[in-house]
Every structure is written in C-alpha cells, then in structure tokens.
C-alpha cells in the first residue's frame, strides 16, 4: 500500500498502475475522477449554491427555532410578554418537580409501550396474510391502508362517534353479544386503550405496507427449497419469513416508538387529555403550558426535556441498528 501511495506522489499524476492509483486517489479526495482539476473552486461554489435554498429554510425554520427555544427555556418569557429576563435553569428545576409534567411523560411512555406492540404485531399478521397470495391484492391493501390516509380529526370523529356511551356502535355490539357496556373515553382506566384502538386502526396500514414490501423481497427460491424439504406453511413462516424480516422488524419497532412518543392529535381531539389527565401526553402539556398557560419559557423547557427523551431513544436505536448491521 505505501509503495502505491508514493508512486503517484508527484502532483497526483499517476505514473504506475493508473487504474489502481486513480481509485486510491478518489478514495482520498472524495470522488474527483482523473480529470485535470481546476474544478476545485468551481465545485465549492456550485456545491454551496445547490445547497443554499435548502440551507436557508433549514437555518431559518429549524436551526434558529431550535436554538431560540433553548434560549427561551432559560427565560421567564410569557405569551403576554411580561418577563423576558434570563433565569437560567429555573424552568428545568421547576419542570423536574412538576407532578403534572411527570404524569404527562408517564402517559406518553405508557401509550408508547401499549401501542407499539399491537402496531407491529397486527401489521405483521396483515402482511403475512396478504403475502400468502390472496386474490384481489388491491382490496386488502385498500382496506388495511386506507385509514392511514385520513386526517387525525376524521379518525377522531369516527371513533368518538363509535365510542359514544349511549349511541355508539361498539357498546351496542357489546350488549348484543352479552357483554357489559364500557365507558370508553370517560373511564380513566380504559381511555388510553380506547386511544390505542383508534390509533391501531388509523396507522397500522403504514407498518403493514413496510412489512409487505419487505416480505415480497424475500427470494422465492428460499420457499421453493423449503417446500422440497417438506416444510409446511407455518414452518416456512417461522424459519424463513420471520428471520429474513428481522432487520425490517427492528426498524419498524424503532420507527413506531419514535412515532408513538410524539402522540398528540388523537388524544387532544378525543379526550382533550381527560378524564382527569389520564390520557394527557407530554406534547399536549407543552401545548397547554405555552398557549393556555401563557408560559412560553416554561413550556420550552419541557420541550427540551422531551427532546432529551427522544435523543436517548435515538441513541439506543443507533447502537442497536449498528450492531445488527455490523
């Protein structure tokens, strides 16, 4: 290797082994090919010119609010503009002692745990069923995936109506099959599950499509070889499909956790966080302290505590996926 490196020391002009040294060179400097290179400064200009529009939006609407939010979290800023003075970490200290903050964070984590499991398992079942080769593929895809295309408000209207204690379809059905009525959105012990059911209906189609795409990439030869060996459908599913899907599963689980942690829409619209705060997630608490409590600085501090949680999950995800693909 070192001899190769010295062989084209003079001005990068490859004298020996042109093919190899060019490869070496391009490895070192990015991907400039063997062209003579007055390109450098023009590339710099071009590169930043192409990046500029994105960068402008990125800096103004993402980086700036991110930094400004951090600054806000250190101030007593309120929506009424009363107190702009920097108060250091007082907001964070207050938040960490705030039982409501912890309660909303706990609700978010609870929702994440109990929603992720069905959202992955049901998606897998749906994809496996469709992938067996049912006729009229479009019909199944449409039925399972269509809810994903709805706005959260539409989903909330549908389910609030179905959960209606007196007039709701669900309680009516329960009574018809001899079960007691349930106070779906009004019982603190049940409300979060009601949200999970609505969320499952709404978003499982997305995971279903990801699983289906991954299943259809498993080479058919695997299954053909297995059938020749006399493996049945169940055996094939557990010995071929599931192992081949492992990377997809890891990814779907992690994507789902990050998505579930951000829950807000359907809770706010169906229960407004009730009954008695039993379903209020942390994003709603951020919203409420900021816009109904007018405490923007405090609200920003809770945002950053929540952000810390997301970063922690992402870091775990990074190490898991890296170990897997290593």
């Amino acid at each position: 290797m070192s001899s190769l490196a010295t062989s084209h020391d003079s001005e990068g002009q490859a004298r020996t082994l042109p093919g190899l040294s060019r490869q070496k060179q391009s490895n070192r400097t990015g991907s400039r090919s063997a062209r003579p290179r007055p390109q450098g400064s023009r590339d710099n200009l071009n590169g930043w010119a192409f990046a500029a529009p994105f960068l402008a939006f990125f800096l103004v609407f993402l980086v700036w609010p991110l930094l400004y939010g951090l600054y806000m979290s250190m101030t007593g800023k309120s929506l009424t503009g009363a107190n702009d003075s920097v108060i250091g970490f007082a907001n964070y200290a207050e938040a960490l002692a705030d039982a409501d903050m912890w309660h909303s964070l706990g609700n978010t984590l609870y929702f994440t745990v109990i929603s992720t499991i069905p959202l992955v398992v049901v998606a897998l079942i749906m994809a496996a069923l469709v992938n067996v080769g049912l006729p009229a593929q479009w019909l199944w895809r449409l039925s399972y995936f269509a809810p994903y295309l709805l706005a959260s408000t539409v989903v909330s209207l549908f389910f609030t109506w179905m959960y209606n204690p007196q007039l709701g379809l669900i309680n009516d059905t329960l009574v018809k099959i001899g079960l007691p009525k349930v106070a779906w959105l009004n019982d603190p012990g049940v409300a979060m599950w009601a949200i999970v059911i609505a969320t499952l209906w709404w978003t499982v189609g997305f995971n279903f499509l990801l699983y289906l795409a991954a299943m259809q990439n498993i080479p058919a030869q695997h299954y053909e070889a297995a059938s020749l060996d006399g493996a049945g459908a169940w055996r094939q599913f557990f010995s071929i499909t599931l192992p081949q899907l492992a990377p997809t599963t890891v990814m779907i689980v992690l994507l789902q956790i990050l998505a579930s942690l951000k829950i807000f829409d359907q809770v706010y619209q169906m229960t407004a966080g009730g009954p008695g705060g039993a379903t209020r997630p942390v994003v709603q608490y951020i919203f409420e302290t900021g816009f109904t409590g007018y405490r923007l600085g405090y609200s920003a501090a809770i945002s950053y505590i929540f952000f810390g949680l997301i970063v922690a999950v992402s870091v775990i995800q990074f190490f898991i996926t890296r170990r897997r693909s290593a």
Binding site: N46, F58, P65, Y68, G69
Partner: protein
C-alpha cells in the same frame, strides 16, 4: 444509523409483486387465511361504513336511542346538503390542497438540489453539512412549536398560509432518500454532458432529474400525505377561519355542530374523500412511495 439503513438500494423495496403466487387451488389452510384476512378487512372497514350510514340519516334517527344501520325514516342526504351549504368543507379542502401542494413543491425543489450537491459535487464543508442534516432527522417537530410560533408572530406570518407552508418544507430524511438514489445513477451518463461543457445545473436538470422520476414521485407522495394530514402546527399557526386547513377546520366543526351526529359524519367523510380517491387512482405509486421512503427514510 441513517447511513446504514440508507445504503440499501432504494429500488429494492419497490419491486412489484402483483399477483405473486395467486390462483392456487383452495386448501383448508388458504381458506383459513382468507377468512382471517376478510375478518380483519371487515373490522377495518366498519368505521367507514358506520360513518356513511350515520351521515345519510336524519339527525333524529342518528340520535335515536336504539341504534340501527338502516334508519326507520329512511336515508337522506340532508346532512351533506347542510354541510355543503355551510361552505366550509370545500374552502378548507382547497386550503389543504394548495398548502400541501406548495409544501410538496418547495420540498422537492430544495431537497433535490441539496441532495444532488451531496451526491455529486465535491465542495468544502460537504461532510459537515451532511452530518448536520443527518443529525437533524431526530428533531421532533413538537419541540419546535413554541419558538416557531414566536418566530411567526415576529415575522407577521401568523394567520397567513405562509405560516403553514414554510416550516413544513424541511425533510432531512427525504434529502437522504434522494441522495441515495442520485448516488446510484451511473456517472458515465453525465460524462458526455461534462465533455460538452454543460453546467452543473444543466446536468442536474437534463440528465439527473429525468432519471429520478420514480423517487421524486415517491418523495412527493410521502410529503403530500404528511402535509395534508398535519394537525398540530397548522392548528397553532392559524385561527382565521378562511385559511384553516381541513384537519384544523374539522376540529372547529366538532364543537360548533355539537350533537349533530349526521353532519359530523358527513363532514368527516367529505374530508376523507380526496385522499381516498387519490389512493384509488394512484394506488401503485402511493404504495411504492410509502414503502420506499418509509423504509429508506429512517
């Protein structure tokens, strides 16, 4: 994280498999599969069916203590007529349509440009830029709502469509989906143009973009659906009834109509219609779009 999942070839997941292993004879196993799949499909369609049945009832029948799929006094389109006369749903649909279209268009243009630079141009600071954009993927939008609101007030954009559009055009993950695709386009295709002395912009517009239609469509679909259904940010950024998007507008209707169940369901169905129709027409592209960008965009 991101780079590793992204190194999978983007096209791999988009392979079509229409009708794979279909048309086999019916065995007990396949009959069971069909039965379970059908049961799930029915469960997944019930909310639509029940909303439709309700929307076509009179308010009296909808609120009757004994619930029924077929109302005693027959079906009526009154609720739809009332909602239409109200005029809000068509207005909000239009607002959603053009804000989502604008978000999608701006996202595509700025993301494709930066993705091309990251994929093909060697410029100083490229690695830093790449790391910064990758890192920004983990920023959850809810964290930004407080400072963004403050920013919009300062820019006098609150209650304008710009407030809805501008903060939604940054999709770092989509930049990498596009970059990954550009990386796979053989350089030889550009070399002829380089020999002719074509500018970077010309190569980008005339060589790279035409070859990238599938991925551009996939990203467009993904961004459009997200923008169409986004609730939290437009909810905060707008109060003015004339610029509300559909999801936010519906939220106001819910309290306004109160117990008008038939009208509530009629509004919800009308709001659901555009994307469901879009799905029926562009099913293949939407599925590919979601699968490709969903898998690669992590």
């Amino acid at each position: 994280m991101a780079t590793e999942t992204l190194t999978r070839p983007v096209t791999a997941t988009a392979k079509s498999s229409a009708g794979r292993r279909t048309g086999r004879r019916m065995t007990p196993g396949r009959a069971a599969v069909l039965a379970v799949a059908a049961l799930l499909a029915v469960l997944w369609l019930v909310p639509f069916a029940w909303a439709t049945a309700t929307a076509f009832k009179s308010e009296t029948d909808a609120a009757a203590p004994k619930i029924s799929w077929i109302p005693p006094s027959g079906f009526t389109a009154d609720a739809f007529i009332k909602v239409f006369q109200d005029g809000n749903i068509p207005l909000w649909t239009w607002n959603s349509l053009y804000t989502s279209a604008a978000i999608t268009a701006i996202t595509l243009v700025i993301s494709a440009l930066v993705a091309y630079a990251l994929s093909r141009i060697d410029f100083r600071g490229k690695k830093v830029l790449m790391v910064v954009i990758i890192a920004s993927i983990i920023i959850p939008p809810p964290v930004l709502i407080i400072p963004l609101f403050y920013q919009m007030v300062a820019l006098h954009m609150i209650d304008t469509s710009w407030a809805i559009i501008l903060p939604q055009v940054i999709h770092p993950a989509m930049v990498f989906v596009l970059k990954k695709f550009f990386d796979q386009i053989p350089r030889e295709l550009e070399e002829a143009a380089v020999m002719d002395g074509a500018s970077r912009m010309r190569i980008f517009l005339q060589v790279v973009l035409p070859l990238s239609r599938p991925i551009l469509a996939a990203v467009a679909i993904f961004v459009f659906i997200g923008a169409w259904n986004n609730f939290l940010w437009p909810f905060i950024a707008t109060n003015d009834g004339s610029i509300l998007t559909l999801p936010v507008g519906l939220q106001t209707i819910k309290s306004a109509y109160g117990i008008q169940y038939a009208q509530n369901m009629a509004s919800a169905l009308l709001a659901a219609l555009p994307l469901i129709l879009m799905f029926l027409f562009f099913q293949r592209q939407i599925i590919k779009g979601v699968a490709t960008t969903g898998l690669a965009g992590t």
